[in-house]
């Protein structure tokens, strides 16, 4: 039937076309001279070219179209009785004398078309006659094209009949029966193509068949266009018959094409009402049919349909569309035992997409879909196929995208169970997706329970899932942990009790995560807790009734634990800063002992853990800065801490650092504000000590030729003198200031110009103060420049 050599095929096609053209020439001549007998003779000969077995479907189609065009001309001739003088009834008889069956049938169909239009016999009978006679051609390609011809020329008559043009109710069914009959036979022929022919490569055969699929599908198109085919007829007759053929033909190409065709061609309203019947066919198809794509497309169409109006939506609920689809999918998965995991999961993704579009408010449906997926995943060993993994991620991401409020996704009980089946890497990816969703939507997770659920979901980030840690990419790890750190700020409840619960839960999880994670997550948690302390600070005294667990004291205890764990990592610098923050917060709550304890921890860390000299300098300034602001300490306690601080300041490694730290310490003895300490003497002591150190530094520099200009230090100290002078420290005299200026001028003679500007602006400042007049002016007057 079908031949291999492409060149040969071209040759045979050319020969066939030549044959058609040759006979067409004589046909036209016969028509021009109204010679019916010759017209029939030459048209029969022409149609004989279609008896060939040598052409592939595409080539046969080309030949067929040539003949088709000629037959149109012939049909017009047949129609005009005046030209040939034979009645259509007789004509119908006459053409049956053609020798070979194929030409005979083509001619018969052509006459039949005219006959039906003339209405001299009932259309029903003629159509039945024709469709039955076509049985005579059993060759797949020839038969398909013949029946296609019949379908083509009868099309408009069928539509007329179907629109109750005749006024007779039965005629719609006649049209339907005719088409179904033709369709069934065409499908059989089409399927038979797969089995016939010598040693053909399967793919080529399928390709050839695919080229013809629309010939078969056209029948369904016509059915859908017949007005009289209402839901009733579709449900009772059309769909059952079509599905019967689909299932029974047991051919995967046909089944896939036809299932899809039914879905695309008939209205969604019909599908909704015949859902069960349609879905029942799905598990019955061959295992090799890609039924999941068919189902996806069906669900896609139904989703769009549901969105069209609210009434439609009620219909969905009425017919229990979701349940039916869900059951059908289960059945398909059950029946197709060889379906790989990715196939099943893709089906769930489609179903979930449908559910989110059609029934977004039904979290129970969403949960059901995820539950079915969990069941499937549990029945197979660990997921390794990356495509399947991608589908699971798609499944989990869909609810997040749909519900802008991530909290809703947290309510889906099967969600974490699906995540459990992911490999560690993908689990973390998914956790990041969840966090991003929360951040993007600015979602606030506000109860301890929800936080618990959330942390269960992101546990892949919070701790190592396996005992053997995966290969960690530094950058990725940092990104993950920073995401968790940011997430902590999204966990908030206005109610202090609940907020404390949240903090405790987060701490519990964070602790389990091990030392490498603490430096990222503890700071966020600490500040979250400090915010709570501040909130409670404001509420102090308002709390009545039973003992309330959320108190600043309790929170400080927790904070202490957290920072201690952090310092053990080891992360002493960060821990030191956080202890200082806590001390300041305790100060605000009037908790002297708590604040003192925090300062103790600070000094322990400073002494034992902070060895780097640069780190020490920063740490000391932070300590001085914080301590300077503390007003909760008793004189003794403050003294102890101040003493320690000044001691450490003086023992910094580099002289300039010592100098600066020591004069900074002067501020510990002078605090603005009504209760502030104002110890002018100790201030002066500090400044003098700083001067001594500056001197020593200058001497050392002159030996070692250090270019870091100790003269700057003197100018800095001068500025401090001026500071206290202004504030009214009696111990700072104008004379002392003058003396210092002279000292600096002396030093400046042999030194770099960098301090010039500093000294100049300082002197300018003094000048400015003098010119201000008033009290300040008078004071500064005593400084002689």
């Amino acid at each position: 039937m079908l031949l291999i050599g492409a060149e040969d095929e071209e040759k045979w096609l050319a020969e066939g076309i030549a044959g058609v053209q040759h006979n067409a020439f004589y046909l036209h001549r016969a028509l021009d001279s109204n010679n019916l007998r010759d017209a029939l003779k030459y048209s029969a000969q022409m149609l004989s070219e279609l008896r060939t077995s040598k052409l592939s479907p595409q080539k046969y189609y080309e030949l067929y179209m040539r003949a088709f065009d000629e037959l149109r001309i012939l049909e017009m001739f047949f129609k005009d009785e005046s030209k040939h003088g034979v009645s259509v009834v007789d004509l119908y008889e006459l053409v049956q004398h053609a020798g070979n069956i194929l030409p005979r049938l083509y001619l018969l169909c052509t006459v039949g078309s005219v006959y039906i239009k003339s209405k001299e016999a009932p259309a029903k009978e003629l159509l039945q006659d024709l469709v039955e006679m076509c049985h005579g051609v059993q060759h797949p390609i020839r038969g398909l094209f013949l029946r296609s011809y019949l379908a083509q020329i009868s099309r408009d008559k069928l539509l007329d009949i179907g629109s109750d043009y005749e006024g007779d109710a039965d005629t719609v069914m006649d049209a339907v029966e005719f088409i179904l009959e033709n369709f069934t036979e065409m499908n059989k022929l089409w399927v038979r193509m797969q089995l016939e022919g010598p040693g053909r490569v399967r793919e080529k055969r399928e390709k050839e068949r695919s080229a013809l699929q629309e010939l078969v599908g056209k029948n369904l198109h016509v059915l859908s266009q017949i007005e009289g085919v209402d839901l009733e007829i579709y449900k009772e007759t059309v769909l059952p018959r079509v599905l019967e053929q689909v299932v029974n033909c047991k051919d995967d190409l046909s089944q896939y094409y036809l299932m899809d065709c039914i879905i695309q061609v008939f209205p969604d309203e019909y599908h909704l009402q015949t859902l069960e019947m349609l879905l029942a066919a799905c598990p019955q198809v061959q295992p090799t049919v890609d039924i999941k794509t068919v189902l996806s497309r069906l669900m896609d169409r139904l989703s769009k349909y549901a969105a069209s109006s609210a009434d439609v939506l009620t219909e969905f609920l009425q017919v229990e569309a979701f349940t039916k689809l869900s059951n059908a999918i289960e059945k398909v998965i059950e029946v197709q035992v060889d379906m790989p995991a990715v196939g099943a999961i893709t089906l769930y993704v489609s179903l979930l997409t449908f559910t989110l579009r059609v029934h977004p408010d039904r979290l129970d449906y969403v949960d059901q879909v995820l539950g079915a997926c969990v069941k499937k995943l549990s029945s197979i060993p660990k997921l390794e196929d990356s495509r399947a993994t991608k589908q699971v991620v798609a499944l989990l991401s869909a609810p997040l995208e749909k519900y802008n409020d991530t909290v809703t996704a947290l309510k889906i009980s099967n969600y974490p169970r699906v995540m459990d089946h992911l490999d560690n890497g993908t689990n973390k990816v998914m956790a990041m997706v969840i966090i991003e969703s929360i951040m993007k939507n600015n979602t606030c997770i506000s109860t301890a329970d929800k936080v618990e659920v959330l942390f269960e979901l992101i546990k892949g980030l919070i701790k190592d899932l396996d005992s053997a840690t995966d290969e960690l990419d530094e950058e990725d790890f940092k990104d993950e942990q920073n995401s968790v750190a940011k997430l902590i700020h999204m966990l908030y409840n206005n109610e202090p009790e609940e907020m404390l619960k949240i903090i405790c839960i987060v701490w519990k999880h964070t602790m389990a995560g091990g030392p490498k994670r603490l430096p990222f997550t503890v700071p966020s948690l600490v500040f979250s807790a400090l915010r709570l302390v501040r909130q409670l600070q404001g509420q102090e005294g308002d709390i009545v009734g039973e003992e309330v667990p959320a108190t600043p004291k309790k929170i400080f205890q927790l904070l202490s634990q957290m920072i201690e764990a952090l310092s053990a990592v080891p992360s002493p610098e960060l821990a030191l800063r956080l202890y200082l923050q806590c001390a300041e917060a305790a100060n605000g709550c009037d908790l002297e002992y708590v604040a003192y304890e925090f300062f103790t921890q600070v000094f322990v860390l400073y002494e034992e853990e902070i060895a780097n000299s640069k780190a020490q300098v920063t740490a000391i300034h932070l300590i001085i800065g914080a301590l300077q602001r503390m007003n909760v300490f008793s004189v003794e306690n403050r003294d102890t801490l101040t003493h320690k601080t000044t001691g450490y300041s003086a023992r910094l490694l580099k002289k300039p650092d010592q100098c600066r730290a020591v004069y900074a310490c002067s501020h510990l003895f002078w605090v603005d504000g009504q209760d502030g300490i104002r110890d002018g003497e100790r201030v002066l002591l500090c400044l003098k000590r700083a001067l001594r150190i500056a001197n020593a530094a200058q001497q050392m520099a002159s030996i070692a030729r250090d270019s870091s200009g100790p003269v700057t230090l003197f100018v800095e100290i001068l500025n401090k003198y001026l500071y206290y002078f202004e504030k009214g420290n009696k111990q700072i005299t104008a004379a002392a200031i003058q003396h210092l200026i002279e000292l600096i001028n002396t030093e400046m003679q042999g030194d770099s110009a960098t301090s010039d500007a500093f000294l100049a602006s300082t002197l300018r400042y003094i000048q400015f103060q003098k010119q201000r007049g008033g009290v300040m002016g008078a004071k500064f007057e005593s400084i002689k420049l």
Binding site: K486, P523, R534, T618, H621, G625, T712, V715, A757
Partner: protein, 190 residues
């Protein structure tokens, strides 16, 4: 007209997750010529974000910054103005304007941009102007209670600088402006 963004103390991710959305939508690449950042970003992600807004980025080190290579202080010249940057945790007492004035003299700058207190300030004194853009995220501070997110945009034009402060109060962005003029100073002797 030169636009300089002064911003800092975001404290991401320790004290805040991100800039407020309203600020983010205002800060668009290509509009700003320089960014001055007081410190405490704290992570590289924020640095990279600023870089996308403007490639000329100047940062000083805050005590929580992940990158320890940022300098303790920095000076630069923009038009007729000399600017200095210093986070401020090094300046005792914290937030004390007189002590900051000393730093300003030491750095020999007209405008000192500083942070740490999370409190917006624009203060003119004998030696120049001290500007604290506050915390762009409204982060927790032991120094200031009830921090509103804020940042500063300086428009430097000749001898004049207009300081626009943007503050997020109760969900709305409020803008205020302050004018400063500099007297042409004699060139300093070197």
């Amino acid at each position: 007209m030169v636009l300089v963004l002064a911003i800092g103390d975001l404290n991401i991710p320790h004290r805040a997750p991100d800039l407020p959305p309203k600020f983010k939508s205002m800060l668009v690449p290509g509009k700003i010529q320089h960014i001055i950042c007081t410190g405490n970003l704290c992570i590289k992600e924020v640095h990279d974000y600023f870089k996308t807004l403007c490639p000329d980025l100047h940062i000083t080190r805050g005590e929580y910054d992940e990158d320890s290579r940022y300098p303790e202080n920095k000076t630069l010249t923009i038009g007729q103005f000399k600017l200095g940057i210093c986070h401020g945790h090094q300046v005792i007492p914290w937030g004390d304007l007189d002590s900051l004035a000393m730093v300003q003299r030491q750095l020999d700058v007209d405008i000192l941009v500083t942070g740490h207190t999370h409190q917006f300030k624009a203060y003119k004194h004998e030696g120049g102007v001290v500007i604290n853009p506050g915390s762009a995220t409204g982060a927790y501070s032991s120094f200031t209670y009830d921090v509103n997110p804020s940042f500063v945009l300086m428009d430097i034009d000749g001898l004049r600088v207009v300081v626009y402060v943007y503050e997020l109060i109760d969900g709305e962005v409020k803008v205020d402006k302050i004018d400063f003029k500099k007297t042409a100073t004699a060139p300093s002797a070197h």
